[in-house]
Subunit: 199 residues, 4 copies
């Protein structure tokens, strides 16, 4: 990636953001496909009421993807240029975010199974790590607007590693007590929702 | 949410609206996934003709999501700033709207079952209530453009609670006579479509 | 709808077009869900090769939705204002367009069955008719830019009814010879693709 | 297509790009639907771990669609006008790109079957060829901004045919050794990701 890194041109950066927003919007909406309509006419009530784990998983992942999008949106507003490597990292990050509807269905259907909880934790740990890598990369290449640098550095420092580390640490919990890991994420989600700031 | 609430910056607010519009557009289009293609070669005609409840549910929900979007679109055009709490409320609202394709399939497949009608009514009651909360919140925090305040106050007053209240009241109807509740919504939908105003 | 019709404001009209474009883009992409991945390991080749009717239906409907979008895009560029009634008509039109992925799967899976061909023809006849109604309405309410009026009038005249009429006329053909109706549409599609103009 | 070709007008071209970006964003996100949630409660772990071919196919196709989008995005930024024929070619190109989620599921589920690998290679060969045709066409019609002409000519020359030719050549490999063809694409993808440039 030696050579001149282009500064942000209006349309160009706009299309990248629009594409990214589109992927986030679709991924968050596909979460609804996790609910199966009962096929038997007999015990519809029973089957619908039994979908509360799916509903919990749905709201958890809606909050997770929503928060990832908010963070992305806020962070990209702080950039004044981008390069090929950043586009690649952004695509890699999106490829992990798009897995969330699948892992959501997995814990919605098999929440008591360690493999479901481990997969969920692993995908979010990778997403959070890639997010940290992206922030770190743009700081190092000075793609961040000088005025926003201080705010972004907070996320790019070792403090920004807390979220990926929490998800990595929840993996051993998930191995032995998947439900406890899930309750942990929900509490974490609630706390994140309550504390979140704009800008 | 103490501290400075940022005024709306062009791109920022634009991305939030684009994301919201994207979610609405995807949710409304996913409604088509409620129609199953008959798998047996034998009685395709019979199975297709038997899908009229799905078709009714499809048009009902298309009108519902379409109207929710129109209201959202009109309301957000009246804002001149936003804050973190508004973003959170907007995401919470979207998480309920995105459930509509599922509840639509539910009443499309099991319209005679009270649980389907109750779920449908409950989701729309929560969506309409959250919409009222959002309007109320932005009025209280003075996020509404002064020129648009009078128009928005109408929705934020107790009159704006009529729609959520109607959906809540239709829940007991749904318990005993799900089909009557459904006919009621269709009539309500037709009336809303006929009376709706822009701006 | 008595009272002042608002002139187009930049963002407002932009959001309506973005929503409409989003619905078209999603509907056209959902066409791919019509292809089933063979579940048996044994005769994958046979099952994949047997999907040529789905492939034909896919390309036909891709061309159909693509063309409807092009026409919509060109027509809305000719407007200088809109009103509540136009928004309603646009939503009604979209609710029919979104049915196309379903009717496509229907003729892809059961192309030899009259009910599939009739459904396909009926949906497109209604879509084309609503398109004509929209054009007619905007001409009558003088929402069309004076400079573009002559071009739009062509579509809004009885000549613009040719396409819906062709689809209505193909319904009786579909009743007795569904495959002939389908070949007819493909030829019509090819011809439309070849003759289509921008602006 | 005789007659005056219109120069690019802001909104017009913007809507075409937004529609195209939307289709790419939806197609890339639909890739996640390739993962099936195990239905049996018994061997969830086993079934999830057995999905590694789907995961490989998912990341391969995410990189493929992501790269096609990047190329499209970069190329369309170099145009200063468009015409009806270009719109048609763009739609034809998109109709092939949208098939990728299906072919991805096919190699994810039946990677050892030649028909899956052949279908995957064929779809990408056609997409790459159409891309080359589009570039060639815009150069011939002088739709490319003079300043960007040199850069675009590189892709439009016979060198630009390397990628489609590679996919065509991988078809006979796929016939006899589908897995070798798949490993080849993954290596090609990795190399493309590593070398890719912006602008």
């Amino acid at each position: 990636v030696a050579g001149g890194e282009p500064a942000i041109e209006g349309t160009d950066f706009g299309r990248i953001l629009a594409f990214t927003d589109g992927v986030f919007a679709i991924a968050i909406t596909l979460l609804v496909l996790g609910f199966d309509v009962p096929t038997k006419e007999a015990d519809v009530t029973h089957e619908v009421l039994n979908q509360w784990p799916q509903l919990l998983a749905y709201f958890l992942s809606f909050a997770v993807i929503g928060r990832l999008w908010l963070v992305h949106h806020r962070f990209f507003a702080a950039l004044h240029r981008f390069d090929a490597q950043l586009l690649r990292l952004n695509l890699a990050y999106l490829s992990v975010v798009v897995l969330v509807p699948y892992t959501t269905n997995l814990i919605g259907e098999h929440g008591g199974d360690p493999v479901a909880a481990i997969t969920y934790a692993a995908v979010l740990a990778v997403a959070a790590s890639l997010n940290w890598v992206i922030i770190h990369y743009t700081l190092r290449r000075e793609h961040v607007r000088p005025a926003a640098r201080a705010a972004v550095e907070q996320y790019g420092s070792w403090q920004g590693l807390i979220i990926p580390v929490v998800f990595v640490l929840s993996i051993p919990v998930a191995v032995f007590r998947p439900n406890i890991a899930e309750v942990l994420w929900i509490l974490l989600g609630l706390q994140a929702v309550v504390r979140q700031r704009v800008k």
